[in-house]
Structure formats: C-alpha cells, structure tokens
Amino acid sequence: MADLAPYRAVLSSRIRSQLAYRRSFALDVAGSAGVGLLEFLSVYVIFTNVTELGGLDFAGVALVFAFANLGFSLADIVVGHVDALPTYLRSGTLDAFLLRPLSVLGQLVTSDVQLRRLGRCAVGVAILAVALPQAGIDWGWGAALLVVAIPLVGAVIFAAVFVAAAAAQFWLVDGAEFTNAFVYGGSNAASYPTSVFTTPLRAAVTFVLPAAFTAYLPTLLLLGEPGPAWTPAWLGWFAPVAAVVAWVVALTGWKAGLRHYTGTGS
C-alpha cells in the first residue's frame, strides 16, 4: 500500500459530498443508529425474562453484542462498499477500474464510503460504555488492550467476509441474496454467545466462518469465563490469527474471481 494519494483523492470527494447535505446526513446517521438499537432490543427483551443466556449475564451478552456490532459497522464503513460490485459489473465500471494503474479491489473499496453507518457504531460504543463497568471485569492493562483490540480485530474479520462475499459475485448472477446468508447470518451469530449452539453449528461459526472470534471468544477472555466445549476461551487469543486466515481466503477468492472475469468476459 505504497501510495494512498490516488485513493484519497476520490474518497475525499465522496466524503465531502455526503457531508454537504447536513440534515439528510444527520437523519441517515439517526436511522442507522435506530437499526442498531432495534437489534439490541431483542437482547433487552430476552433479559426481561431471564437472568442469563449461554452462561453470560445481561452485561456479558451486551458486551458480546456490542463488540460484534461495533466490529461489523466499522468494517461496513471502510470496506462495506464492495457490495456494489454487481452494479459495477453490469455497468462496465469494472473495466474502467482495470484500465487504471491501481488495484481493482482498492478502487472498489474506496470508490465510496458510507459515513452514515457511524450511527450503528455509536450504538455499539454506547452499549459498551454502559455494560463494561457492570460486567465484573478485572481491570488492568490486559483488559484495556482487549477492549480496544476486540472490535478492531472483529472489523478486520468482517471486512474479509465482505470481500469474500463480493468475490462470489464474479461467478453468481444475482448472487447477493445467497451471500447475504453468510454476511448477515455471520453478524447475527457473532452477536450472541455461541454456547447456545450445538457443537457442529458452533464449530461452523467458529472455524469456518470465524464469527465467534469477532466478539464472543475474546469477550470470554475479558470476563475471565471458561467457555464451551471444543471452543474454549483461550481461543480468543487467536482472533488475530483468524483474521489473517480470513483475509488469505478472501484475497484468494478475490483474485480468482477477477481472473474469472477477465477470462470469460462480461
């Protein structure tokens, strides 16, 4: 990533044009925050009926939810625009990308940025701010580091999922519906303790689509909890490894997709 100037040039135009319409931008941010709150409402309603879920109390589940949401929305802001790939394929814009001396993925990612998704980010941060003091954490430098690192590593993992889902669009026609199952299913699975799932499903959302690494497993470390069978808490330390593996898979898929596109034409 030697030279960011070219990407910055387009990005700054986009950011400027989004901020230009102050009122509608504010409404958009509010709307995105609303969606985030809505999802948390399910968790809240659940905890008006029970005191623990999957071995964690309300504060614990709120942490898992907030970390997952924060990671997802951070990834969505930065990399989320890759879901425009099918549109670009149809309009021939991808050819314009190929004719420039830049990486195609880089151009796709930076061709737009959805700042309004900051609303959902804010909800995640707010929930964290309320839940962290109540979760019974043994505070120290390790815990503080974890609090900062978890959403960042989570964002990296989700970003890889987005890129992999985008790569699939090179082969599928109208494939977004199909990949949504993994992207949004993954986000959903990441927001809850995976201890509620049976072992096969838990293995799938941990080792196949690393949703558990984005929030639940590292949160267990933070809380000092042991974790369920086959996916113990200490796996949480391997979240960065999961992120790297996820990106290797995503980039391999992306390169293959691009090869497929230039090999078969549009």
Binding site: S24, G31, S32, V45, I46, G175, A181
Partner: protein, 267 residues
C-alpha cells in the same frame, strides 16, 4: 370488464413477475434456513434459561416459533418496499391514477400475487430444515392450518397497508430513506419477528398491541403453530381485519390528499 377479474389479472402479474427470479428465490430460501438455524437455538436457550418454559413456549414450541417466523417473513414482506414512492417521485403516478382501476386495489392484488408465489418456495424450506434439525411442534388437525393461512393472508394485507401508507410520504418528503428506515425498525421491533411479542415487558407489549405490527407476523405464526386456537384464533383474525381495514382506509384518505397536493402544485 368485471373489476374482480381485473384484480385477478394484476395478482397473476405479481405472481408471474416473481416466478422469474428462480435463483434469487432459492438463495432467499437458503438465507431463511440459515437464519432459522441460528435463531432457533437462541430461542431455545432463552427458554432453557427461564426454566424450560416461557410464556407458554416450551423448547420445541420456541424452535417452531423461530422457524415459522422465517417461513412467513418473505410473503409478509417486512423489509423495505418503495415502488409506490418511486412512482410518486418520478411523477409516473399520474399515469397510474388515470387508469380506470382503483390504484390501491391493483397494488394490493399484485402484492397478494407476489406473496402467493413466495409462500411455498420461501416458506417450506425453512420448515423442512427445522423439522430435521430441531423438530417442529405443529398442530395435527386441519383447522389451525386453515385459520393460519387466512391469518397469513391477512398478515400480508396489513403489511401492505402499512407499506402503502409509508410510501405515500413521497408526496411530501424529498428524501424518504429516513421514513422507510423508521418503518422497518418499528416492524422489526414490534411484530414479533425476532422475539415473540408474548415475551415483551408490559410497557413494550402495550405499545405493540396498540400498533398493527404484531398482526403482520406474530398473529399468523401463533395460529399456524396452533398456539392460539378456536374462538381465540377468530379474535386474532378479527384484530387483523380491523387493522387492515383501518390502515387501508387511512391510506386512501392520504392518497387523495397527496394527489390533491400534486395537482395543486402542478407537475
């Protein structure tokens, strides 16, 4: 031409339009099943944490609830729909209004046609997966299914009436995204899509019952699962009918207002 036949034609068009998207439908059914796979265990875990029973849901009933919501959510179409708003914005609505058919009824017919197409290909797969993975607690007699399907049709109607009303905001607002998102959030929160309305704390339950949203999802799911039967079921259907007619009529009034504004303002 017999007006009823006209609407049947529109319904058939709605049906045919969606039948072309075979791949997307299959993909959608896959998504529904995946979500069911995730929500069913979560629901069961909540029930387990509550001691094995919560508001009349046992573990199996809870799982059934999760699978049924995935089965009905596509026909009911809880997500954003903005066809009408786009036509209002572009002015094409004038063409539609000039036709000798009732605009709202034609859209309703088309929506029912769409729902009719989606019921089986999007509804059955999650139920089949559910039956295999967690098992389903479904009624063994015929009547609950009859009432349930009636309730489902009404759920589609109530959902349509609300979406119609929300789209009419295009007569007054330039940027509709906020209103559409708000509607989607309200539906998601209050219709019983992710957690049953019966689990809501009192204050939220009161808000929900004062809204049409539970009639969209919770009602048909309850009836299809046999949770609500007999006379009580008829009561639920009655509530659905009341909301449907109420919001529908409101939609007609607002449309007339909007059209008048359009005509007065020109264009």
């Amino acid at each position: 031409m017999n007006p009823l036949r006209t609407y049947v034609v529109f319904a058939a068009l709605g049906f045919r339009r969606y039948s072309a998207y075979r791949l997307a439908t299959a993909a959608g059914a896959f998504t529904n099943s995946v979500f069911g796979l995730l929500r069913a265990p979560i629901t069961m875990a909540v029930i387990g944490a509550a001691g094995g029973e919560l508001a009349g849901y046992g573990a199996l009933e809870g799982a059934t609830y999760a699978w049924l919501t995935q089965a009905v959510l596509t026909p009911v179409n809880v997500w954003t729909w903005n066809e009408l708003a786009l036509r209002i914005r572009s002015g094409d609505i004038a063409v539609d209004l000039a036709r000798p058919v009732d605009l709202q009824m034609t859209y309703l017919a088309a929506d029912l046609g769409r729902a009719a197409f989606q019921v089986l290909p999007r509804g059955l797969p999650p139920l089949l997966v559910g039956a295999l993975v967690t098992g389903l607690a479904l009624p063994t007699t015929v009547l609950p299914y009859v009432l349930g399907l009636i309730s489902l049709a009404l759920g589609v109607c109530v959902s349509f009436a609300c979406r119609w009303l929300v789209n009419l905001a295009a007569f007054w607002l330039v940027e509709l995204r906020g209103v559409l998102t708000l509607h989607m959030v309200a539906v998601g929160a209050l219709s019983g899509l992710t957690v049953p309305v019966h689990w809501f704390p009192d204050w939220l339950a009161r808000i929900a019952s004062a809204s049409p949203f539970p009639s969209m999802v919770q009602a048909p799911v309850d009836l299809l699962a046999g949770r609500v039967q007999g006379v009580e079921a008829l009561g639920v259907i009655g509530v659905q009918v009341a909301w449907f007619l109420g919001v529908l009529l409101l939609g007609r009034v607002v449309l007339a207002r909007g059209v008048r504004r359009l005509v007065v303002q020109g264009g």
